[in-house]
Symmetry: none
């Protein structure tokens, strides 16, 4: 078989696999986890029931592919979300905005990860791998800021990460569950403000020594003033 034909064939298979994953995603989003049956997915993807099993070992594998596809997509987008900001706080804000917007839009797909995990249908290792890969976006931003001295260095990365994602996810969940009006900006601004306060590099002014320095400087200036002869004119 010529290489081109092989390539074309492989492309076709990959396209079909993607189509199946998309069909599964659609069915899940429409009908919910419990009513997502293989038969329905097959119908939607316009293939025979058995065909699903040529592409995925079983239902679990297919649902995990749905999850994987989503994490891949958002990890990619998340990386883009920070690319234009080089200042730490700007990057954090951009990522926070992207993250919560995504959550509000795709929360059911994120939930799917949790459902599969809770039901012990997805190995822990996989569940955490996706998340780790995604949250490395924050990690990179954070570490860069540390290097540049943009933020204080005594807060462990993991705590910062927990605060960042935790706050956003909880806020998103509250909104989704409560069907309250969306207030992305308010949430983002608030989180960034807290981070700005809590993670700011210790402004030299707030340490005791700095204060003493400044006081002494002021006194020195006073002294110089007072020792100056009053000059007429100037």
């Amino acid at each position: 078989m010529p290489l081109d034909a092989a390539q074309t064939k492989r492309d076709r298979l990959e396209k079909k696999e993607a189509a199946i994953v998309d069909a599964a995603t659609d069915v899940y989003l429409e009908k919910g986890f419990e009513k997502t049956t293989m038969a329905e997915i097959a119908r939607r993807a316009d293939v025979a029931d058995g065909t699903l099993y040529t592409y995925f070992k079983n239902k679990n594998a297919l649902m995990m592919a749905v999850v994987a596809a989503h994490w891949a997509r958002i990890t990619d987008e998340a990386n883009k979300s920070i690319s234009s900001s080089d200042n730490f706080f700007d990057a954090v804000e951009a990522h926070a905005r992207y993250h919560i917007t995504m959550l509000l839009k795709d929360w059911r797909l994120i939930d799917l990860s949790y459902v599969l995990y809770y039901m012990q249908r997805m190995p822990e290792i996989e569940a955490t791998a996706y998340k780790r890969e995604y949250s490395s976006v924050f990690d990179r931003v954070y570490n860069r800021a540390l290097d540049r001295g943009e933020i204080r260095s005594d807060v462990p990365l993991r705590h910062a990460r927990d605060l960042f994602y935790g706050t956003l996810e909880y806020a998103a969940r509250t909104q989704v569950q409560g069907r309250s009006k969306q207030e992305v900006e308010s949430i983002v601004k608030n989180l960034v403000a807290v981070i700005r306060e809590g993670f700011a590099p210790s402004k030299p002014s707030t340490t005791r020594e700095a204060i003493v320095d400044r006081l002494e400087a002021a006194v020195a200036r006073l002294e110089s003033v007072s020792s100056r002869k009053p000059t007429s004119g100037r």
Copy 2:
């Protein structure tokens, strides 16, 4: 029927209902959501399958009772967790410690709430009601602190709440999923520190730097005065 007998009877029924809920809880914790069948619950509660349906309309209702019982239990405990602290930060710390400890111990029961909700088996209204009731613990502490002026007043309660519970839940989930060693104290201390920074009342007057600022301003004024040509009058 004499009242006492009726009372006794009702007690007996309530005891049985509680026994069924306990049995369901045990089965769920032992076998996981998928393998929690009505038959197994009945076996564990030492009643016939059909009996479950005299106490609960269907499986969903029973599982929701499991969830309700847990939220009731922890809401009660959470209220106690703050009772001994009257200072805002002490109360927050105590509650944070209680909350994450509970999560690490009973995460499967919290997950059950989510699973039921995700599966559209528990009406949104119920899911949120339990949570709201529980999180009112934080709300009360926060509002009291606001009243007393212990914290700044420009951070909306809901954002503070999202940050508090969100951070802790994310941290707990990370620990549970990653099987990393538990570090309750580190998480709690860090969260409290961030809150202390981010939520402190911006009383310009009492902080050291404000004093320095004022001093410095005064010095500046002195400087400007002293360098000014002495004018007669004025």
Copy 3:
């Protein structure tokens, strides 16, 4: 519940279980192993599909019950088949006749044992237990004959048993497969004859023919002496 009612209930259940086993047997005999589906058995037993699973863990268990029921039946009959004969050879003949007649009639049920065993659907232990129980009929007859000195004692029981059942089963199978006319009597008589010869007690020195040999030798000597001319002296 009164004892009688309980008894009645249990009877009813046992009757139903037996009815299911009978239905399964019928379907198997009619349609063959491959086309024996649980749905068909349920239909035949006039119960719902699920009901089968209240009585038997799975299809395998049901098919094994079919096998077990048959072995129980024929073991019982086989015991009766020898009860009227107290002579070894009569008993062997009666049992042989019963055994091959049963095989020709119920060979498909015996085959079922083998099929389940071959397909590793029936644990070895069970497969052998039924057979051992059944073949103990022969063992008892054989051991009694040994005690009574009806047969020689140097042929191990297991070899005798292999020869007895092996010959009959092979003969039956040949007949069934070849659709040759049935010739139970010829097979039985022949087997018994071989056993009579091969297992007869071979009292070496005390055997009748040895005595005859010696007698005859003596007579021959007598003859030779008497026919000799009387010689003086010598």
Copy 4:
């Protein structure tokens, strides 16, 4: 196409066919009947699934080819097993030894014949043909012995054959099922001994009547001797 090329091509096809049969045999022996799938056979034979169907009409045909190949192999070997013995009992012993050894080694392939037959997947006619061809080895030995008067002539061949193969197969199956230690020699020797006794040409001397006859004849001679007048001379 030149003849040689055609020959080569046909050879190639036959080699491939044999390779497929071998692969099927291997899979069956390794995985058992139920897990022997066409896909697995194709994988093992290193051809595509569809290719199997250019060589064999369907799965049945392929499995029957497996069986046929085995019967052909052992029929050939069985013929060799008797070639060096010209005495009946030696030939029987050699063949018995070969037969049971083969059964213990290849019982799964013999079972395969039965399974296919039991499942009505192999036409009776084929099943019996292989067996008949194989057992003709015994038939020839037996008939030659009859011609030579080595054995009595009143036992029909088919009964002798049933006893021979039946005993060995039953013994083999018992050993295999029971995982008892192998005792080929004991089985063979015992079978040959029984045959020696049961099929020996009827030495007139060993039956009771014959003994009585001989005794009476001897006595008669004695009487005639004693009643004879002693004659002088002679």
